[in-house]
């Protein structure tokens, strides 16, 4: 008899065993679905943040980031002598274009008198701006700004309107006069933090709003490489050893090494616990189920069913419970991932477009492999019971009962 026919018969038998106890089978499948959903989410979480950050960095189009220290931008000290630094970097080999970015906090006046807190990105250089214009046009001259959708909505302004900005550029700038700026467009900012209102302008505009004439300070220099980003990083490091230059992969490495490694650890711990939980409970379900049917199994063996055949029945029963539960776990896991992602994105300091749970084919493959292994391992003990079952003694016990 070929293997396929045996498997089909074992599956049919296992299906009949399950449907004979619908409540028990449904609860087992639902349990696997819930555990499987959690398992899938933990697998998505283990790499999600890095995958999402890599996609975000790649989409921004810059290859190298230069800061004063290895701290993330906005967390470390600023770069000084920006014009000189830009000029030095721009003339290095492997460099296509550069852009200095300065982040400043501020508040804009709203029509009813109250103010709206904003974050201002001032940029200077020949690389593309780190925002995408949705309406209107991009900034060209000093005094022009683009704003994000939330600022446009909350301040009730749009392209063509005037904006009064109170910039907070650090110690000693509390009493700066307000700057009158002209809105020329509405843009999206890929690295905008959750619940942040952002304004984009030229470095000159921001410098002027900060009460200075000369744009000599920035938080970050973004560089696009002409060819190999690693060669560009090496060139920058050689020319300016006092600065911290990092390629996108190095930035991701830093993020992986620091705070976000927590999510990978919690994912590993919860994956282990979830799998152990599923394994234990499916094994118990199958063992109790087999123990309740010992007489029936002994009768089948007496009728000529081989040991491997009854073992295959148990394995197929396990595979059906885990398989159906596993399939159900995919939509449940996807829905749960959306909810959990929404919770984690409330974390302060996280770019709005960054996601913690990102679908990857490898995570799905691992999920299926782990569930398959769980089905197999959970069936081992009940399979052992049916294989070692003494036929005559079991039938005699059943008759005696």
């Amino acid at each position: 008899m070929n293997m396929g026919a045996t498997t089909r018969r074992a599956l049919a038998m296992a299906w009949r065993s399950l449907t004979r106890q619908p409540a028990r089978a449904s609860l087992g499948i639902l349990g696997v679905a819930a555990v499987g959903a959690l398992l899938l989410d933990m697998l998505l979480l283990s790499e999600g943040l890095i995958v999402s950050m890599r996609e975000l960095l790649g989409r921004a189009g810059y290859d190298v980031r230069v800061t004063a220290t290895e701290d993330l931008p906005r967390n470390g000290p600023p770069l000084h002598d920006v014009q000189g630094t830009l000029s030095t970097i721009a003339h290095l080999p492997h460099i296509r274009s550069t852009l200095a970015v300065r982040f400043v906090d501020g508040a804009v006046e709203r029509p009813r008198g109250e103010t709206l807190d904003v974050s201002i990105e001032g940029v200077g250089g020949d690389a593309p701006h780190p925002w995408n214009v949705l309406r209107g046009r991009d900034t060209r001259d000093a005094g022009e700004v683009v704003i994000d959708e939330s600022t446009a909505m909350m301040a009730g302004v749009g392209p063509g309107a005037e904006l009064i900005l109170h910039a907070d550029c650090g110690t000693g700038t509390e009493a700066l006069p307000p700057a009158r700026l002209r809105i020329v467009g509405v843009a999206e900012f890929p690295f905008e933090l959750t619940n942040e209102n952002t304004i984009g302008a030229t470095l000159d505009t921001v410098t002027s709003a900060c009460g200075s004439d000369k744009p000599d300070q920035a938080d970050l220099i973004l560089v696009t490489a002409a060819d190999d980003p690693d060669a560009a990083v090496t060139a920058i490091r050689a020319a300016r050893p006092d600065l911290a230059a990092a390629s996108n992969e190095e930035v991701l490495g830093r993020i992986e090494r620091t705070g976000f490694t927590y999510f990978r650890q919690i994912s590993s711990v919860l994956t282990t616990i979830t799998l152990s939980f599923a394994l234990l409970l499916i094994a118990v379900l199958l063992t109790v189920s087999v123990n309740q049917r010992l007489g029936e199994i002994a009768a089948l063996r007496a009728l000529g069913f081989s040991r491997s055949r009854v073992a295959a029945d148990v394995l197929c029963e396990s595979a059906l419970i885990v398989g159906i539960g596993g399939i159900l776990s995919l939509p449940v896991g996807a829905a749960l991932a959306v909810v959990l992602d929404r919770i984690l994105k409330r974390m302060p300091g996280i770019p709005g477009e960054l996601h913690f749970f990102v679908f990857q084919p490898t995570a799905l493959e691992l999920h299926l492999a782990l569930l398959a292994a769980t089905a197999l391992v959970a069936a081992l003990y009940p399979m052992h019971i049916v294989v070692r079952l003494p036929i005559a003694a079991t039938l005699r016990d059943q008759v005696a009962e």
Partner: protein, 285 residues
């Protein structure tokens, strides 16, 4: 107002080296370094180190290590090694001051104030804010800048716990249905000899409570054992004294308050369907 903090914590990008000549080093300003920095650079008390605020190591100044301390655990810096140096404030200002900045005009990040009566913290902060415009005074309990991140993590863990409880409940129900089914004949006989369904249900409920309570206690013992294991692993992994898992009385009570009623309810729900059946049908072979 008494200024308590004469020391500031300052993390520097440094050129560090140990050098001999202890008699000469006594003239160098004293600093204390974190245990992690001491281990990373093999420094000990009495060593001389050169510090600079310049990544390239230019304009260094020499200091004498007079102490090694365990940094206060900071969850916001998890994963970053605590490579710290503590200076006397005048030494730190001398090291970081721009050449054009006259001494005494530097800025500081904060001043920690110890009050005679800590209960006055809120009133004191209000008073300072009113008298000194441009200064933001806050009670220490409210100055938790990164608390938002941990509130979100707490919500995330609660959501995970809710899903786990849901999955556990489903499995528990499946198991109790099977266990109750095994006792179908016993229940049928009890009904036939005259025990009312309510009496049997009460017995099942008590049994469920006892089993659930035993399970909850076992779970708590397991948690207490794993608490130490998890903390030790993460403290080793991140080289920190932070406590990651702490099973408080509140947490333990919450677990018992969820587990015991849930276990008892699952037993009763599983038994209820059985008890509604005819006693003869239950007892028949």
């Amino acid at each position: 107002m008494s200024v308590r903090s004469a020391l500031l914590v300052f993390v520097v990008a440094l050129a560090i080296s140990a050098s001999p000549g202890r008699a000469e080093t006594d003239r160098f300003p004293p600093v204390a370094i974190s245990r992690q920095l001491a281990e990373a650079r093999h420094l000990s008390i009495g060593a001389t180190i050169r510090l600079s605020t310049d990544r390239a190591g230019a304009h260094t100044r020499e200091f004498r290590v007079v102490g090694i301390y365990e940094p206060t655990p900071n969850p916001a810096r998890l994963g970053s090694p605590d490579l710290e140096v503590r200076f006397h404030l005048p030494d730190l200002l001398a090291l970081t001051r721009d050449p054009g900045t006259p001494a005494g005009s530097e800025s500081m990040d904060g001043i920690n104030v110890a009050l005679a009566d800590p209960a006055d913290a809120r009133a004191f902060a209000r008073d300072v804010n009113a008298r000194l415009p441009g200064i933001n005074a806050r009670p220490a309990a409210e100055a938790t800048g990164s608390a938002g991140r941990f509130i979100v993590l707490r919500q995330f863990h609660l959501a995970i716990a809710a899903v786990t409880i849901g999955a556990a409940t489903v499995f528990l129900l499946a198991l109790t249905i099977m266990l109750v089914d095994e006792r179908r004949e016993t229940v049928g006989v009890l009904r036939l000899i005259g025990l009312p369904a309510r009496r049997i249900l009460m017995q099942v409920l008590l049994e469920g409570i006892i089993v659930a309570a035993a399970g909850a206690v076992f779970g708590l013992v397991l948690s207490l054992a794993s608490e130490r294991l998890i903390n030790r692993f993460f403290q080793w992994r991140y080289d920190t004294a932070l406590v990651f898992v702490r099973i408080t009385a509140d947490v333990a009570l919450t677990c018992v308050a969820i587990a015991v009623p849930l276990g008892a309810a699952a037993t009763v729900i599983a038994s209820w369907a059985l008890l509604r059946r005819n006693a003869l049908r239950l007892a028949r072979r």
